[in-house]
């Protein structure tokens, strides 16, 4: 009992418990809906890690989630709620697409340029929200929700600009291939490449069948960088101070407003980077008119929640989330179960994470009950 109580007090316990209960509730929902939970989960995991290319796809889909999750977690540590991750992501895709279509430099120049464009786009969006908060005290939640919609319509507008619009479609042209960030994009589809790869089936699968790209390395690096920034730099120290006690930070001569702007700028930059990497790394390498949000940013909120706002935790939460979404499609395909059930599961996990304070309370309760037994 003592060990259980001790384990429950660890911060990570809340995450693991929430995930376990999420699966349990999903199993119940599956059973009620008439789908055997066992085979469904088998399909889920098979669809996640059953083949090298599935793993590759999970990794690919985790890339934006890790970045947006880290962005949200970072802002949260600084006392800001960046619900605008979605819009910053969209802005990132817009800027990356515009630059990627308009310019065509050699890849060494083009790739950094396109990615930088997207990152700056997201950063500008975030900084605007931060500036409005710092200067006029406007709540960042409100402004960033508004900016989400502005980004969405800006995207739809850009798609329809004749210079970018691809005829007979709802999309822009693809960015120039010099912007691609996949691994060996040309070679792997050349005859020579295909012939070489045939020898190693898993590599063939991963390279040819998926858009495996360098994004994940950047995403993980960013998460680690943010963790270091928060914990090991003077700037991160100031930001945490501002997040935890704005008045004391101001009293100590820390420029609170500047920190708010910088923090939102960095958070937005991460989201914009995620958007840029999606354009450069994934088919169809363009942007399309959006009827609704694609949720790369909003899912980042969930990822940050599951990770308990830890940037490093976001790496794992990002993989989990992407695995559930991607593997969930297999449940749909194999079992015929609607993807809604997977969404219920994800929702449950997030919900329980939000209730994570309950876990230490359970630990308290266990302890007290044990005491009661001992006393009696």
């Amino acid at each position: 009992m003592k060990t259980i109580v001790k384990l429950l007090r660890k911060p990570i316990a809340a995450s693991i418990l929430a995930i376990a209960v999420g699966f349990l509730i999903a199993a119940i929902v599956l059973a009620i809906a008439g789908y055997a939970p066992g085979p469904s989960f088998a399909a889920l995991f098979n669809g996640m890690i059953g083949k090298p290319k599935y793993i590759s796809n999970v990794v690919i889909k985790a890339t934006p989630l890790i970045l947006t999750g880290t962005a949200v977690a970072f802002a949260f540590k600084t006392g800001l709620f960046n619900i605008g991750a979605e819009g910053q992501y969209v802005t990132g895709t817009i800027c990356a697409a515009i630059v990627g279509i308009s310019c065509d430099f050699p890849p060494v120049l083009q790739v950094p340029l396109v990615i930088l464009a997207g990152t700056l786009g997201g950063a500008a969006c975030g900084a605007l929200v931060g500036w409005l908060k710092a200067k006029f005290g406007i709540n960042e939640v409100i402004t960033s929700i508004m900016l989400n919609w502005i980004s969405l319509y800006a995207c739809n507008f850009v798609v329809n600009v004749p210079a970018f619009h691809q005829p007979e479609s709802t999309s822009t042209y693809a960015v120039n291939p010099s912007s691609y960030t996949m691994i060996l994009p040309k070679w792997k589809l050349s005859e020579e490449g295909l012939a070489t790869l045939k020898g190693t089936p898993w590599l063939y699968e991963v390279l040819v069948k998926t858009d495996v790209n360098v994004g994940i390395l950047i995403a993980v690096a960013c998460a680690i960088l943010i963790a270091v920034l928060l914990k090991r730099t003077k700037m991160g120290y100031e930001m945490r101070a501002v997040g935890l006690n704005r008045e004391a930070a101001q009293f100590a001569g820390i420029n609170v407003n500047r920190n708010i702007v910088t923090c939102m700028l960095i958070s937005g930059a991460l989201c914009g980077l995620a958007g840029a990497l999606a354009v450069t790394g994934l088919e169809p390498h363009n942007i399309s008119t959006l009827a609704a949000f694609e949720n790369n940013g909003f899912n980042g909120l969930s990822v940050a929640f599951i990770a308990g706002s830890s940037p490093i935790g976001c790496i794992f939460a990002g993989f989990l989330f992407s695995g559930l979404i991607y593997g969930g499609q297999s449940v749909q395909q194999v079992m015929g179960a609607p993807s809604d059930i997977i969404n219920i599961m994800i929702g449950t996990i997030v919900f329980l994470m939000a209730l994570s304070q309950v876990v230490p309370m359970v630990a308290d309760w266990l302890e007290r009950r044990e005491k009661g037994v001992a006393n009696a």
Binding site: T233, K234, M235, Y237, R240, A241, A252, G253
Partner: protein, 509 residues
Amino acid sequence: MEVSPEYAVQMHGIVKTFGSFRALDGVDLDVRKQSIHAILGENGAGKSTLMNVLYGLYQADGGELFLNGEKVSINSPTEAIKHGIGMVHQHFMLVENFTVTENIVLGEEVCGTAGVLDMAKARQEVVKIVEEYGLEVDPDALIEDITVGMQQRVEILKALYRGADTLILDEPTAVLTPQEIGQLIKIMRDLVSKGKTIIIITHKLKEIMSSADECTIIRRGRYMGTVDVAQTNEAELASKMVGRHVNLHVEKSPSRPGETVLSIRDLHVKDDRGIEVVKGLSLDVHAGEIVGIAGIDGNGQREFVDAIDNLVHAESGTIEVKGKQIQNTTPRNTIETGVATVPSDRHRWGLVLPFSVAENSVLERHNEERFGKGIMLDLAKVEEFARGLIEEYDIRPEGCESQPAAGLSGGNQQKVIIAREVSGEPDLLVAVQPTRGLDVGAIEFVHKSLIRERDRGAAILLVSLELDEVMDVSDTIAVIHDGQIVGSFEQGTVTEEQIGLLMAGGGSK
């Protein structure tokens, strides 16, 4: 002591541990019915822990509890209330935009038919209790509109409304003005005469002497004995509490004022509601001198200090530090000019509570190269720095540099702030209410620190609502009234009565 129904509360051999830390180590408490029983101890001695055990917030790891001679166990505040125990916390738990009546009945609402809230009836009941115990308070006023003293009465009424026979008051005088303290003591006496029993947690010796019948002393979680207040004196209580002889009066050498460090001329500042509260204040503080500002709360003290720290905008006038004008620049500029401030509210302004003690110890100078090259912050160096301060200023518990500041007692939190502010060897040290809520031992420490800084050659500006403190510590006593300095005296050339008259607005410059 024998268990008897003569005692409202008896706690015997109470043990409470947090991890490996023994917060309470066999503490006894015997509270006679219809008496005022004080619990005295330094910050972190375990007074509040003991009361939280009684109130059911904590479960003791050992010991027995008797109420009116019967053994009971209390596992939650709800059970404590059922047993007739009420608690008034140091930080009030009131809903600011509710009326007095609404706050009192909150959670115990009076309902008419069909569960509809019957406020008229609730009000009647509240008025009845108010009259019965002579606790004058307007039942229809909003909490945010009444004084802190009134709010405390509401808290007491809340407990009485729930049928409390035994009232626990946690540091009840910490937030009150001298007049309000007098009124509170009278209220306590009245309540006891009406059959109630009162336990007060405090470290203010004066108040124990003037209000309590008996006093139980706790030192570092251990029971130090119970004394009959009539048979003792302040000095004895103080030494029992701290475990050594304590100087209740400040000892210092005469000051040798040097050059002018702080010079304020005709300063005008508005408060956050836009009302001018500092109205042409002028003041000089010299090196090697402690200037104490005496005044009733709300006469512009906070705003003029905030103006020095550049937290508010000065409408007009100048603030010069070492000949350099600093008004209406940035907080950073104030600090860099050589001004350190011990803020009035350590939780709000002084500390980032979830930060470790080490992180808090560099709050103003984390940017210095010695704490990390370039943009990096070297936590090892920060902790090393903090360890130095912890040792020098005897901050407890030992080795707390990596613990959150929130876990420290109030006195130790204040030590962290003073250590931090003083470690930069400031030219001007502004201390606002530096001993608020601290016990005798900690107060002595704070006062010694101020004098040590003065002797080092710093100019000290002490702003306090405790007239005793200002009179005792300051070399020069300046009186603030209605946003102006209305009088300035060398220590020893003026009486408390004269100062009091000026504070209240009597007399002229």
